[in-house]
Amino acid sequence: MAKGIREIRRSIKSKKDMRQITKAMKMVAAAKLRRNQDKAEAARPYADKIQEVIASIASGNSGSKHPMLQNRPVKKTGYIVITSDRGLAGGYNANILRRVVNTINEKHKSKDEYGIFVIGRKGRDFFSKRNYPLLEEVTGLPASPAFADIKKIAGAAVQMFENEQIDELYLCYNKFQSAISQIPTVKQLLPLEAPESNNARELNYEYEPSSEEVLADLLPKYAETLVYSALLEAKASEEGSRMTAMGSATDNATDMINRLTLSYNRARQAAITQEISEIVAGANAQA
């Protein structure tokens, strides 16, 4: 080992400090992941109920005429891309951004054909640096976002679809599989696919004022709910990804500390041995 004892000792110290930080980040991420999963759980009844009601209206004959349920020729596509505000989350942002860029390159030839709604500072920086057409952005979302936090961007996207400024809308986010596996996903949001209805529980509702109006009121809400649940899932993915990244960083630091400690001890031993042999050589020379 070329390094001196003192350098090795300093290097061990710095790795230990770093390990402490990554360990703390890992534990924070684990706690946040847990909270986000609870939140996603709490959001489910709302989404399920809306879906159920829409399904029962859409299964009736009048439902499917609503513009949000109909495919029309696509002139412009919107993408809602969900990224994080902060880094140190492994491949979280890189994965989803790569996926989005690939999709865009495959489907579009010019920048007039699409627009991006971006959530999260990382994605915003990425797209604005490369001059992608941004339609709307939201950054600085809290770790567990509330529905009101994304109402603006979801509402704007749905509004643009209704005004026919965009003709389809995709939702791009990291789907949460488990703490160690998140899948970058591009999913069609609008036009909505009418949810399948469960015929066994079919009920003849009375709609007030009319089924069309109820549907017109519910569909935008449904779309916004889908964006919100994707956001919650993306947040869970972010924390999961960060937890894994910080976990392996901690492991790597431990490995490095072990190796450095070994070479530190060797160097120390070598120094002692050398000193002894010098003393012995000196004593021999005297005798």
């Binding site: 959001a43 009844p45 989404a47 809306i50 003849n204 009375e206 007030e208 109820v214 519910l218 809400k221």
Partner: protein, 132 residues
């Protein structure tokens, strides 16, 4: 008197869940009172207080915005973007919001701004009504 189950759900959580004798809400075409065994019904709700009569004279009031109501047999579900019990409401903030909205409406801006101010005003009024 017979009772039914009432649930108030927002995207974030279940705000209220319990038994009630009657639910009074403001639909698009006016006030609707729902009692047990009502015919199945779906209606959007206006931004307004919802009153849930639990027993006798006792009632729970709630400020609801962006919601709709589903009635099915003996179960009433209210889904709303926001739903607040009196304890959750910040009266000062609601008052400030009301004044702001009234001022904006008095000044008359472009179409969209008026709509927004009107909605804000409705929300503030509903909150104040519930908090009283």
């Amino acid at each position: 008197m017979s009772k039914m189950t009432v649930e108030v759900v927002t995207p974030e959580r279940v705000v209220y869940s319990g038994q009630a004798e009657m639910v009074i809400a403001r639909g698009l075409q006016g006030e609707i009172g729902i009692m047990p065994n009502h015919v199945p019904l779906v209606t959007p709700l206006k931004t307004a207080p919802v009153r849930i009569k639990t027993e006798g004279d006792k009632e729970v009031k709630m400020a609801v915005s962006g919601g709709f109501m589903e009635v099915r047999g003996d179960k009433v579900t209210i889904l709303a973007e926001t739903a607040e019990l009196p304890g959750d409401i910040d009266v000062e903030r609601a008052k400030a919001a009301k004044e702001r909205a009234e001022k904006r409406l008095a000044e008359k801006y472009a179409e969209l701004d008026v709509k927004r101010a009107e909605r804000a005003l409705q929300r503030a009024v509903a909150r104040l009504d519930v908090a009283k």
